[in-house]
């Protein structure tokens, strides 16, 4: 069984917004130090 396209879209969306966003703000915090 493979993931439906809509599930893949949600997966990418979640990863980009949450983990991408988290990495960006941690990067900003580290850069400020």
């Amino acid at each position: 069984m493979s993931l439906p396209l809509s599930a893949i879209v949600m997966l990418v969306f979640g990863c980009v917004v949450l983990y991408g966003g988290l990495a960006y703000f941690i990067y900003r915090a580290l850069k400020k130090r």
Partner: protein, 479 residues
């Protein structure tokens, strides 16, 4: 780090996957993200701003805004103490299960094992016997909470350096293991595939706002207290974003951990995931469904069982002590009671109240208290917080204070969200909950039981916040 530890707790691992599943799977992520950015993060910035500006505990912070609002500060620190009383009971169960996982003591009958472990009578009205393992777990967890807190923030810093990254690493290990199991993809597909028709259901949006609100430890005085410890030049906005996204990211990850195993379990039992639906709610998921799946693992079952429960314990411990910290800080600030003494007294009181959940009706009492504290107590505090800070105080001053220390400047949109959007959402949540509870009494229990177990703690805490405001400190009495 401590604030991340506080926000990320047991609710991320078992509550988020279930709420997500129940509200359209992948489709739930859309209102969830909207709620995160329109209510969660703005309120997080607000609490950070107040704590950092006042540099004191919540009662004193509200008092600085206006003397007559001090009670609201006491209200915000008393409510998480009530939460801690039953939260630590769940941690006590995790503690016992961590030990049981070493020899997979629940065997193939996790359902009956859990009932026997609690001495469950099946009704809140039948007291039953006392569960000794639960009491021993309570003693252990309350002692650990006291030990972490009594020396103040220095020790908290050392503890969270371990208890924030460790469970996250363990959760990643469990997720990898889960995703490599046969049938895991069915579970993930179930978790992520959106059912867009659910987006038209108002209850889904309410569930998303509620999940964000409770998961981030908002309206509990915790973020105000932690922000008061931050350095003067700390970037408030950046910190608020990091905590909120770390919390939501953990919930998202936990969805994979849980649903991969649920898919495996369904495949093993030869039934569809839909038929497991009622089994993946709250305590059932953690103490019945997951242990059952662990027993079925082809190898190293005890190892994965152990790391699952130790991950839960370490996720929970930061949240647990962060619920006690605001009240002990507030007692210390107002009446100069030493931190060790204030923490000790609160831990003893908390332990004694926790004992009421150690009997055979404990699980049912816990569900009633949790339902009312989560759906009414915290929502009411959040609403009051927005109304006091948004309407009784010049919100633009707090915005200016935040912008002075932050690289990312917040605009007037933030004031709009705090003044209008968040209160409107919380008010709607409250009204809907009240109507639902009046038309359908919780779990069909008699009204007198709901009033005694569910409403009384809320009313007591509300009254107590006024009493604590009225009792004068030595400085006030001398003035």
């Amino acid at each position: 780090m401590a604030a991340i530890g506080s926000a990320v707790g047991l609710g991320n691992v078992w509550r988020f996957p279930f709420v997500c599943y129940d509200n359209g799977g992948g489709a739930f992520l859309i209102p969830y993200f909207v709620a995160l950015f329109t209510a969660g993060i703005p309120l997080m910035i607000l609490e950070f701003s107040v704590g950092h500006w006042a540099r004191s505990s919540p009662p004193n912070a509200f008092k600085k805004i206006n003397k007559k609002w001090e009670w609201a500060g006491w209200w915000t620190v008393l409510m998480p103490f009530i939460v801690a009383i039953y939260y630590i009971v769940i941690m006590s169960w995790c503690f016992s299960y961590m030990i049981y996982s070493l020899d997979l003591r629940w065997g193939e009958t996790a359902d009956s094992f859990f009932k026997a472990f609690l001495g469950d009578t099946g009704s809140p009205l039948v007291f039953g016997g006392i569960s000794i393992p639960v009491i021993l777990g309570l003693i252990a967890i309350w002692f650990v909470v006291f030990f972490i807190l009594y020396k103040g923030v220095e020790r908290i810093g050392k503890v969270v350096a371990l208890t924030v990254p460790l469970p996250t690493i363990l959760l990643i290990i469990l997720t990898i293991r889960g995703l490599t199991l046969p049938g895991a993809l069915d579970g993930v597909s179930y978790y992520l595939t959106p059912n867009f028709s659910k987006l038209l259901d108002a209850n889904v949006w309410l569930a998303a706002y509620a999940q964000v609100f409770f998961s981030l430890s908002l309206a509990q005085g915790i973020m105000i207290t932690y922000a008061s410890f931050l350095k003067k030049k700390s970037d408030l906005t950046n910190n608020a974003f990091i905590i909120s996204l770390a919390d939501a990211g953990t919930s998202f990850l936990a969805g994979f951990t849980v649903f991969s195993v649920v898919g495996y379990l369904a495949m093993n039992q030869g039934i569809s995931i839909e038929n497991l639906g009622t089994q993946i709610a709250g305590p059932n998921l953690t103490f019945i469904t997951y242990p059952t799946a662990i027993s079925l693992l082809p190898f190293a079952a005890a190892f994965f069982g152990f790391i699952f429960f130790i991950a839960l314990l370490t996720f929970g411990i930061d949240s647990a002590f962060s619920m006690i910290e605001p009240i002990s800080c507030s007692l210390n600030e107002k009446w100069k009671i030493s931190k060790a003494k204030a923490t000790g007294v609160m831990c003893i009181i908390g332990f004694l109240f926790s004992l009421m959940f150690s009997a055979g009706n404990g699980l049912h009492l816990l569900e009633i208290v949790d339902h009312f504290v989560a759906n009414f107590g915290l929502v009411m505090i959040g609403l009051v917080e927005c109304l006091v800070l948004g309407w009784m105080y010049t919100l633009s001053k707090l915005r200016e204070h935040t912008n002075q220390t932050s690289d990312i400047k917040i605009g007037r949109w933030w004031e709009f969200l705090i003044k209008f959007v968040v209160p409107a959402v919380l008010f709607t949540l409250l009204v809907v909950s009240i109507v639902q509870n009046i038309t359908n009494p919780y779990m069909g229990y008699p009204w007198w039981l709901i009033v005694v177990v569910g409403v009384t703690p809320l009313v007591t805490v509300f009254a107590l916040s006024f009493i604590l405001m009225k009792i004068k400190s030595e400085e006030e009495a001398a003035a």
